[in-house]
Symmetry: C2
């Protein structure tokens, strides 16, 4: 067994041991550093305003209006590029956000504690379908919804969670959801239903007015993707625990900013290894097609990095109605991912594969050796700012991320310790 193998054992064990528990919902400014100043966090590896893609720009503009830092969209666009706003990846502060992944100070985030390791991870609250900031839409409907989420949804969730002494065990919900046809990235109907079952009773007794609780019930029950941000935070909580093991070739993040895909590797510190983002292949909403699609965007590939999403597709054959392909492709996708992973998950199991654990722990060596790239289920954003989602599909990160990371790992080993 090589030194890398031994380091990977340690990193993988930490990932598999993760016990992600939803413990709170807090305003981002209270739990993420740096939000006292005018700063936004975004999906993927670092990217300056000048290089941001359309949907991320759209989301930045919306966030500036939402925060009241700009009085309208034109004002916001001017401000966004004028140097007065700092931008940094969500991943740099233990957070993740789907699609554009914008987090501004007065948005609320889920607080997920990894009980096995003691670290915490954060994710925004899912806005629902249709026009949404994460897809780059930023009109009044979008801003109004963000305000309602801050004033009603987040406080109600916070009080309800406060009534649950043990929090909500996300590992248990994800394990169940995988037995109920979700892969918890692009299909979250079961996870959302189970979360609703868990939160309804404490929220009922939260003391909030019935009509506000009713609004929250409608919002959560009306959005089958609500659980996505929770599965993302759960995945991040486990992967951050596995990060920083010297010599390990295990991938601890895959993230896309709509221009580039970046990966981070456990033994290679905080460095991003990047390559150009591809356009996903999939199914488009009526009236849209591949020409409208922005290249791959969002932190949601953290689910695949943790052995979920595309890696757990065999658990979710019905997802092909959303991302395209046939039911047997879903099984094939999961089987392929065993070739590039270090282990099988002890809790996340796939009934259709005889309860085999999901493939987990991407090894950059195996990716380069086999030439098999990780498979990612993803939403597809329109490439122009202000429009929104146009479809859903499947995509793979560029090989360059993995070959460069592998070269860096070799260089690190050759270097004096």
């Amino acid at each position: 067994m090589t030194l890398v193998d031994r380091a990977n054992q340690v990193a993988l064990a930490r990932l598999l041991a993760a016990e992600p528990v939803l413990v709170n919902v807090r305003p981002a400014r209270e739990v993420l550093p740096g939000l006292a100043e005018r700063r936004l966090y975004h999906a993927g590896p670092p990217v300056p305003w000048e290089r941001m893609c359309g949907p991320m720009r759209g989301a930045v503009i919306g966030a500036l209006v939402y925060e009241g830092w700009a009085k309208d969209h034109g004002d916001a666009e001017a401000l966004a590029g004028a140097g007065g706003i700092a931008y940094a990846p969500c991943h740099h502060v233990g957070a993740v956000g789907p699609m554009a992944g914008i987090i501004s100070p007065s948005m609320d985030v889920f607080v997920v504690e990894n009980r096995a390791h003691g670290n915490r991870a954060y994710a925004t609250l899912n806005e629902g379908l249709g026009r949404a900031l994460r897809y780059g839409a930023n009109d009044e409907t979008v801003i109004r919804r963000l305000v309602w989420m801050r004033e009603v949804l987040a406080p109600a969730l916070r009080v309800a969670l406060g009534r649950l002494e043990e929090g909500i065990d996300l590992r248990a919900l994800i394990a169940q959801a995988l037995q109920m046809g979700d892969e918890v990235h692009n299909r979250n109907r079961a996870g959302t239903s189970l979360f609703f079952r868990a939160i309804a009773r404490p929220m009922l007794q939260s003391g909030f007015p019935t009509e506000k609780v009713a609004e929250v019930f409608d919002f959560i029950a009306g959005n089958d993707h609500f659980f996505l941000n929770l599965s993302m935070a759960a995945a991040k909580a486990g992967l951050d625990a596995a990060h920083g093991v010297g010599g390990s070739s295990l991938v601890t993040a895959m993230a896309r900013n709509g221009v580039e895909v970046g990966i981070r590797v456990s033994g290679l510190g905080d460095r991003w290894f990047t390559g150009p983002a591809a356009v996903p292949e999939g199914l488009f909403f009526p009236g849209y097609g591949p020409a409208d699609a922005n290249p791959d965007i969002g932190d949601s590939a953290i689910t695949e990095t943790a052995g979920l999403g595309g890696f757990a597709m065999a658990a979710a054959p019905a997802i092909v109605q959303f991302v395209g392909g046939r039911a047997e492709d879903a099984v094939r996708a999961t089987l392929e991912m065993y070739e590039i992973t270090l282990g099988e998950h002890g809790h996340y199991r796939i009934p259709a594969l005889g309860f085999r654990g999901t493939p987990v722990g991407i090894d950059i060596r195996k990716v380069v050796e086999t030439g098999t790239l990780p498979l990612i289920n993803t939403g597809i954003a329109h490439r122009a700012p202000g429009i929104g989602q146009v479809g859903a599909g499947i995509v793979r990160p560029p090989m360059a991320c993995f070959t460069e990371a592998l070269a860096a790992l070799a260089a690190a080993r050759g270097a004096p310790a």
Copy 2:
């Protein structure tokens, strides 16, 4: 095409066209005939007290205490056999009940309307896990729960349903549940979760005190089998519409009283074709084994008769953890059932089989020709009265039901019209 084929086309079309909608919850005495007198309905084909199995006797005794017709269990047992109580199958009044299937006048029943045909079907409300009347348990806990169901659960459901103008579309919930790992007989986690999502909001606004609504939330969310009785009533609503088509060899009911299995056939009127009930094979709870098991019991095989349950097992590979076997057995079970059925369901589809419709419409001719018997997922009751569930497994009805029915069909065709 023979006359039988033509009749089967009509019967099958009615079954496939069913639109079961949950519209109300009412006391049985208000919607089922004959309950003004001292009468109980029970699962399966007719059976007098003298021939009833242990769990059905246990449930009868419990029901007599619950109704206040007997002051204690000894008194109830004496009364049960003294001729003062009339017994009749649930099926004779458009109703179904799981396991012992006892319905007494002051128990509430779901009212399910088949919007396509105009008929209605009924089923009791599921009592939950552990000691339950349907499994023959009848101690104070069981009776107290039945009283709570009458005083809190049923009124809350009634008012909540009253707020839903369109009722709850059970066909849509079942279709979704099949994409979420349920077969809606022995696995109902998804169906229950989806039902909870649908009922929580109107119940929140029912005007009931918060602590009562909280009790109901806990009760439904705490019992993954809650949806079973709804899937049973939905199945019954479709099959009753398909019943009574002259010459049809389509099975419209399979039901077990714990001693005998009986089937009814669309073209053969209200006659039951019976044979001895077998002991299910499956998994037993700790401390119990096959020697404790009562033979097959309950009306829940109405789900299989409608192309669900064992017929839809391929949709629910995780069920093998409950009923035994391996995930691939679940797929094999469904594939086998296509051999004895007349069609494939247009709404109930199985992702893992490329979204093929479930096998539906058992043809007694095909059963006899192929020698393949319908496969039924089932709970297993202890054979003694007063104990309860000891396991879950798989069972098949006796061939005698089908050969006798086929002989009767031939005789009917030979007879003058």
